[in-house]
Structures are given as C-alpha cells and as structure tokens.
Symmetry: C2
C-alpha cells in the first residue's frame, strides 16, 4: 500500500470516528470526506460502502472500550481464598483489588462516555446484540466477563446477571439531552439493581 493511501485511510477513519461519536451512525459521506480532507471517491477506495465505514469507526470505539475494560481487569486479581495477599496486591497494583468496585467504576465510566460518544454507545450495544461480534467487541466482552465473574465470586454482584445483561442496561444510558444530575441518578439506580442483596 502506498504511503499516501495509508495516510488517507488513517485520516478517514479518524474523521469517521469523530463524526460518528458526535452525530451517530447516520453521518453523511460528504461530511466525513470534508473532515478527512479528501474527496468522496477516496472513501470508496478504502471502504466498499457507507455502512462498512461506519462499522469500522464503531470498531475503533470498541477497541477503546476493550482497553478500558482490560485496564479495569488488570487492577483486580482473581479470588484466592487460601492466602490473603490482598495487602501486597493492593500495594503492587497501586489501587483497589475489589472487583465489584472496579466493575462499578468501569460501568460508570462507560456510561459517562456514552453521553458524548455515540460510537461507543453503539459498540456497547453490539455487545448485547445477537449478531456476531468483531474481534474488538469480543476483547471487550471477554475482559468484562472475567471482571464480572470475579465480582460475582466475591459476592458483590448478583449471580444471575450476564455480560449481555450489562450491555443491554448500558445501551439504555441517557444521552446529552438529559442533564448530568439525572444521568447520575440513572447510573445509581442501575448499579443498585445489579448489586447482590
């Protein structure tokens, strides 16, 4: 692939990522082209159709989602009932190792980002969909599943919720149209709902 082609591909994907975040999946090709600084035809050299380009942009968001989830997972450790290493682990990871708190923090972060990033919201929704996932979505799903499992083992989260349940809940997160105070109430209710009693 020629260097200018690679550069244009990066620019197009970045522009699409940004516009899909702002405006959702129904961005116009002309707008993406203008934001990328190329002509429309160039978009079609790199992506066969508008839907493919949007899907690629959403996939970038899915990658960020996966990174977020993997970072949260890295901050926790698997349950080890036989040896209590929590203090040492707490020190070496520099943060909490409580998987429940970490999961809740992750869900809050994701919900917060949904407000300004409709691409991320779409990515999270795809986690709950029945269609086959992209590899990035899969990565996110795996990380969240492990974190969720640890939180459930430790008794912090009700045992009957699945990753898909979380995805469905997150898909219903409010957007920019509702004020921040009400969004805060929303995440509070959701977190209370999945907490073990």
């Amino acid at each position: 692939m020629r260097s200018d082609a690679a550069r244009n591909r990066r620019r197009i994907l970045a522009a699409a990522r940004e516009l899909v975040a702002e405006q959702g999946a129904d961005v116009a090709m002309d707008d993406i082209a203008r934001a990328a600084g190329t002509a429309v035809g160039t978009l079609y050299r790199h992506f066969p159709t508008r839907a493919a380009l949007v899907a690629a942009a959403v996939d970038v968001g899915a990658g960020e989602l996966a990174a977020l989830a993997e970072a949260a997972l890295a901050r926790t450790v698997a349950q080890r009932p036989e040896t209590d290493r929590s203090d040492a682990e707490r020190c070496e990871t520099g943060g909490t190792v409580d998987p429940t708190a970490e999961l809740m923090r992750l869900l809050t972060t994701i919900a917060d980002r949904h407000v300004a990033d409709r691409a991320l919201k779409q990515a999270a929704s795809d986690l709950g969909g029945s269609t086959e996932h992209s590899s990035e979505i899969e990565r996110a799903g795996v990380a969240i599943a492990i974190l969720l499992g640890r939180a459930q083992e430790s008794g912090g989260i009700r045992s009957d919720v699945s990753v898909e349940d979380l995805a469905v809940l997150l898909a219903g997160a409010p957007g920019t149209d509702v004020p921040a105070s009400r969004r805060a109430r929303w995440i509070e209710v959701i977190l209370d709902g999945i907490r073990a009693r």
Copy 2:
C-alpha cells in the same frame, strides 16, 4: 368539517399511529398514505408537515400511556393512617391498594409495550425531556407522579426518584432485538434499583 374529511383524518391518524409504533418516527409519508387508503396530499390537508403528523401519532400513544397510569392510580388509595379501611377498599376496587406494587406493575406494563410500540416509547421519553409536554403527556405525568408519591410515602420506593427519573429509565428499555428473557432481567434490575432499602 365534512364527514369524509373527519373519516380520513381518523384513518390517517390510525395508520400513522400503527406505523410509528412499528417503524419508529422515521416513517415515510407515502407509507402512511397507503396504509390510510388516501393520497399523500390528503395528509397535508390535515397536518401541516410530517413532523406534525408523527407528533400527533405519538400523542395518541401518550393518551394510552395516560390511561394506563390513571387506571393504576385508581386501583390505589391515598395513605390514611388514622382509619384502616384497607379491607373495604380492597373489596370495592377489586384489587391491591399497595401503591408500590401497582407502580411496579405499571412500569413493567409500559416496558413490555415499548417492545412492540415505538410510539409509546417516544411518548415515555418525552416525559423526561425538557421540552414542554402535550396535554396527554401531562396527564400521564400527573398520574404517575401521584402514584409515585404514594409509593414513596408508604416506604416502598426510594424517596429521591422523580417522574423524570422513571421516564429516563423507561426510555432505555430494550426493544425487539433483545430476547424476552433478557428483557425480563432488565425490568428486574430497574425495579430493584428504585426500591427503597
């Protein structure tokens, strides 16, 4: 108004109501006209623009929502700590008078209908929006507010949730794309989240 005009208006509104329920707010005017058995021009005699027609269709859904809420409210009574008339009232209303159970039943019903009726979902979302409401939306809001107040007085629902909070929660209800079992999990989590602890 001539009789044929009134008949067409009814047919158009009914068709719009149905199509908006099925396909959401972005129905084509041609489709509504075909379903109503009229020509496109007739739509414009009764409604100035597509948006106005869709709004009217959503308002029909809002009326149904209000009826649902008022029926639920009618099944409960205000708290009367001084005289215990619960048995008599239970008999005369033919059902429970527990406002918390009634509110939860109402929310479940609304969420269930959202699945097959995107007009209703839009109507419920409007309850949480900052734009001024139609009179039907107002009716629904008032009925739900009273019911919610009673449920909170009786200690069944956390005191810090508002009608707008409920609307935002309901606006995130899953659609036909998620299976019924997962939808059931969703409403379960939501109800647990607003329950007083």
